[in-house]
Point group: C2
Chain length 281, copies 2
């Protein structure tokens, strides 16, 4: 490892969608990746300084926010330094020579099953086994060497583990993207930054969220996402994870955020980074 | 079955938390329950008239909204006729005579693992196998008859399947509730109704959600929950599932909702029912 090589903790395995996001975001830079089976290994590695960056999925355009990751980023106080949107194309992968009629058991990450729900409704007899990740499912099917097993994963995983595509593009929604966060221990921002991610909580009184959103509207900051997460130990109170357009070094945006902070019982800016639409219009 | 017996499709198994919610909500009424392994069986049974009511978990106070259920209720156009909050107390259950040192494999619903995350961090070597429901996990451990297997489930399941509590109250959050929806094909409301659940989508322009929430604030309807769910085929656009205080037969609330509807690209009222806090303050 040279001094310039960066340690990156990446969810999933070589060949996973997270791996694709990492390769795309760090293109041209020297990276030493450590792959993690669990989201928490990524956030812990970043928070504890064992990795300079981490790569985790945060939201899928069909199945929504990956709520455990929201909670881990909050818990480990990670910063967000970038995002990458990757088009998701799931295939049913089997051993070379296997046919779709041979299949009895399918491995995938639960999100892989959820995003391919319509396809699996046509195959109710198959046993669907939740597994660590789509790519790890592909690796397992290759290692088991059984013609009655299949995995739901991407084409990169098929190539990497020598599997054959038995059914192509099985995801329910043909316009399916996953958004990944590049996380770090501290914020990093540059001249391309145009999106701010923050977490707030508001006092338990009528209109509190309404008034907070007013700061964004009157401050000209467009909210692109709002995810509510429960506050542990305070049943039915919530954190709001919010994405808005803006720059922290813009005096108007900074003024807006200061006003907003005064209304909040919890307020933390996670990052200001360049938005990515993954080639969508 | 007499004419007065109601068919109810209930998620999970006898002894599950959903079963507890059903027993509590229908107390004193004659019910014939059919238990379902998958959320979609419940929503489909209700939508297709095979069950008069359905019982599904919608939100947990530690792990948040059960997003698949939100999406199914929207997709099957179910109405919400009631809610029930049940305190969740997870235990580690094993065979009679088993000790915690014997355990190698633990079955539970993924939510059972997520809600007991801290406990499982102390037992990293155990294999955690996701299963249909907490109660079905208990049933499986009883059926397998192996001392190295355990389940995460409630006390009712322990009693029903003859298992022993190996570790008590293992959920991370001691104040842990799950909120259940009672669903039906059509809305039903009565004089105790004080909460309205609706789904909206707003045009893709700055401040749209802010202006919508203004209707609630100025109309004196307090928003108690907001959950954003992706709109399939429209990457990074959202439905908002909203709970507010109010009554549909209150002229002021009705006026507020009419104004709000005029701002929305999608608007559907799911129900007006009596709120339940499960005995919380």
């Amino acid at each position: 490892m040279t001094e310039d090589t960066m340690q990156v903790a990446c969810f999933g395995q070589p060949g996973s969608y997270s791996d694709q996001a990492m390769q795309a975001w760090f293109r041209g830079r020297s990276v030493e990746a450590s792959y993690c089976d669990h989201f928490e290994e990524v956030t812990a590695a970043v928070a504890e300084g064992r990795a300079r960056y981490g790569v985790v999925p945060i939201e899928n355009s069909s199945t929504g926010g990956i709520t455990e990751v929201y909670d881990l980023i909050r818990k480990y106080r990670c910063a967000v330094v970038g995002e990458k949107c990757i088009p998701i194309e799931h295939h049913l992968l089997g051993l070379p020579g296997a046919a779709i009629e041979d299949i009895h058991t399918v491995y995938s990450h639960p999100q892989g099953f959820a995003q391919s729900r319509e396809f699996f409704r046509q195959h109710p007899a198959w046993e669907k086994i939740p597994y660590f990740s789509t790519s790890k499912s592909a690796e397992r099917v290759a290692a088991d060497g059984r013609k009655d097993e299949a995995a739901v994963a991407g084409r990169l995983a098929a190539e990497l583990y020598g599997l054959q595509v038995l059914a192509e593009n099985i995801q329910t929604n043909r316009s399916n993207f996953t958004r990944f966060f590049i996380i770090a221990p501290k914020m990093e921002t540059d001249e391309k930054a145009d999106r701010i991610t923050l977490i707030i909580a508001v006092p338990h009184r009528p209109g509190a969220l309404y008034h907070v959103l007013g700061y964004f509207f009157y401050g000209g900051m467009n909210m692109t996402h709002l995810e509510s997460r429960p506050m542990e130990g305070h049943p039915f109170e919530y954190f709001f994870h919010i994405d808005v357009t803006g720059r922290l070094d813009d005096p108007s945006n900074a003024h807006t955020l200061r006003g907003l902070e005064s209304m909040c019982s919890y307020f933390r800016i996670l990052g200001n980074y360049a938005s990515d639409r993954g080639g969508q219009p």
